[in-house]
């Protein structure tokens, strides 16, 4: 039998040092991982689920948030309300004109406009029944609002039953009323087909319709709404309190400047315009609230994944004690052993990150498709997910790696026998 030359020529008196190339570290780590493919897959699955949950929750929060914000923006960014400011002493009043709706509607970019005025009915109660029952309360203090016909389009009112106030009602000062659903429920009005009437104090009004919902001015849901002309004649309302306008998207800012001039060209500074600037703050508030909530949920999922990696790596270290002993006998330093195990756990974490990001994005897309939403996800999230997975794996592998590196070679060899 031929035997290769066995003795290495002596290089110097200096003892050699152990060293391992990066390629070898990577190779050994991968070999270690693939030694037990089933376990590796299960470990990766833990991180995959954690990161999929994280990516999905972040994506869904963004998508849902965008959906909410989109709807919020659509309403908020297209609404302008103009009210009059109190006049300075000695100056004429800043009242809005009675034809405010028509003036506003003429402007380019306005979709609908209407006036809305809180009517002072002198503290009288509103009653749904002509008969006063001493045992059952039938009269309530309800807000009474005077509205121009255009207001209902402006607030996107939906009618549950009956009809809405029109120009004729206002012109003739008809004693008719439209009830908000809450007001109707309070007054016990459920149908209007029998010429149902209500009383505001001693004045009787025919209920011509009931609202189902509004998308702006939600106070109307609890109000009794009467025609503007009726309020003028019956309650001596001197001027509309506010003008509400719905604009086209993007026109609000310009119209905010034009409306005072159109309404009161003689004293535009006497009017106050509520333009949709404030909603920007609300929008970022909603977004950050949602993000925080979902980040917490995702963080918990990731923590569970990290604990999974730590557990499996620790078990792996214990099972591979003999191998660690052998590697130490063959010249591995503690640092090289720790690096190998850290690289294994970090790689599994990173792979879990890639798979998790893909799965998470699939979930976001699936949910968005089902809800017919537009899926929105920060492009950084799928790119960062493998990094987060890798770092998670690295942190999770820290303790097992330190434990592996701390094994004395003699004891490790004995344990692995």
């Amino acid at each position: 039998m031929s035997v290769t030359p066995t003795v290495r020529p002596r290089a110097a008196d200096k003892p050699p040092v152990s060293s391992m190339s990066a390629r070898d570290i990577v190779f050994e780590s991968f070999a270690g991982m693939f030694a037990r493919p089933g376990r590796m897959l299960l470990t990766v699955l833990g991180t995959t689920i954690g990161l999929a949950a994280l990516v999905a929750t972040l994506g869904l929060s963004r998508t849902a948030g965008q959906q909410i914000i989109g709807r919020f923006d659509e309403l908020a960014a297209t609404e302008i309300t103009v009210t009059s400011l109190p006049a300075e002493e000695g100056r004429p009043s800043n009242d809005l004109p009675w034809d405010a709706s028509r003036r506003v509607e003429r402007l380019n970019g306005v979709v609908a406009a209407g006036t809305l005025t809180a009517v002072d009915v002198g503290g009288v109660l509103v009653s749904g029944s002509a008969v006063q029952d001493p045992l059952n309360r039938s009269a309530f203090k309800l807000p009474v609002e005077a509205a121009s016909p255009g207001l209902f389009d402006t607030v996107r009112a939906r009618v549950r039953t009956g009809r809405l106030i029109d120009g004729g009602h206002s012109l003739r000062a008809d004693r008719v009323a439209v009830l908000g659903p809450n007001a109707a429920a309070q007054l016990g009005v459920t149908r209007i087909d029998g010429l149902r009437s209500i009383s505001i104090g001693d004045d009787v009004f025919l209920v011509i319709g009931m609202l189902d919902s509004v998308q702006r001015k939600h106070d109307l849901l609890s109000s009794v709404i009467i025609p503007e002309g009726t309020a003028r004649r019956l309650y001596h309302v001197s001027a509309p309190e506010s003008v509400v306008a719905e604009t086209e998207v993007g026109a609000a800012s310009m119209l905010s400047r034009q409306l005072p001039l159109a309404l009161r060209p003689d004293a535009p500074s006497g009017l106050k315009v509520a333009s949709p600037e404030q909603p920007q703050r609300i929008r970022s508030g909603i977004e950050s609230d949602l993000n925080l909530l979902f980040l917490m949920l995702g963080g918990v999922s990731l923590l569970v994944g990290a604990i999974g990696i730590a557990n499996v790596t620790l078990v792996s270290v214990m099972e591979r004690t003999g191998e660690i002993g052998l590697r130490r006998a063959l010249g591995a330093t503690r640092r090289q052993i720790a690096t190998q195990f850290l690289l294994e756990s970090a790689t599994m974490g990173a792979v879990g990150g890639v798979l998790g990001a893909s799965a998470g994005m699939l979930v976001v897309t699936g949910v968005a498709a089902y809800q017919t939403w537009t899926p929105v996800i920060d492009p950084l999230i799928p790119l960062l997910a493998p990094v987060v997975g890798g770092v998670t794996g690295l942190l999770a592998g820290l303790y097992p790696a330190v434990r592996a590196a701390g094994l004395e070679p003699v004891e490790a060899l004995r344990a692995g026998t």
Binding site: V7, S18, R23, R327, G331, L413
Partner: protein
């Protein structure tokens, strides 16, 4: 001029275990092993022979005493240097082979060069040469689980010699083998000895001890000379 320093020199080496109730595994051991020598350390179970091998193999540190390997004082070396010695100057053969079951025979042999920092380009060829030297040149891709005990020990020997160490440390190398296989392994060790390799064998088997050029007896952690 020929180097006359012993390859392995131990002076007054002791090793204690435990803190509360210390157990003295080695007691003032003096031992010289010359270059190209084959020495068998014979002793009963628990006599301290494996502790002695661990210290010579830089797997363990003596509690007291001095150890020089090829003239270098090993006692004061850092872990990294001691690991360097293990990777390049010392070859190990264990009773239970210690092969990685999930790696091929060739990869198991190549593993020995992983920590030496040497040229990786010829690693495969060197591992194949080592396998051929132990008579397993035809099964480089086999897994250790597919081999017999004797073949596994041959793979372990190939792994030990592929780095061309100065000394080969064998811990009961035939302890798990039958007599026929033992003879084959001893024949292989003889070839390595003939090629100039220094070999230290730990054994309780007198047959294996007889194979060595010199035997020393260890009793209760002390060298007692020829058995």
């Amino acid at each position: 001029m020929a180097d006359t320093t012993p390859l392995v020199r131990l002076r007054g080496v002791s090793r204690d275990y435990g803190v509360d109730v210390p157990v003295r595994a080695l007691r003032g051991v003096d031992l010289d092993v010359e270059r190209g020598e084959s020495v068998a350390v014979v002793g009963a179970s628990g006599s301290g022979k494996t502790t002695l091998l661990n210290i010579i193999g830089c797997l363990d540190r003596p509690t007291s005493g001095g150890y020089w390997l090829d003239g270098v004082d090993v006692s004061g070396l850092s872990d990294r240097h001691r690991a360097g010695l293990r990777s390049q100057e010392i070859g190990f053969i264990f009773q239970s082979f210690h092969l990685l079951s999930y790696r091929s025979v060739l990869e198991n042999v190549m593993l020995a060069e992983t920590y030496g920092g040497g040229d990786p380009s010829g690693r495969v060829d060197r591992a194949r040469d080592a396998l051929r030297a132990v008579g397993l040149g035809d099964r480089p891709e086999a897994l250790p689980t597919m081999l017999s005990g004797g073949q596994r020990q041959r793979v372990a020997i190939a792994r030990a010699i592929v780095t061309r160490p100065r000394v080969l440390l064998c811990d009961e190398p035939t302890g798990n083998l039958d007599s026929t296989t033992t003879a084959g392994i001893l024949e292989l060790l003889s070839d390595l000895y003939d090629a100039g390799l220094t070999i230290l064998v730990i054994t309780h088997d007198r047959g294996v001890a007889a194979w060595a050029e010199r035997s020393v007896h260890i009793v209760d952690g002390q060298i007692r000379g020829e058995p």
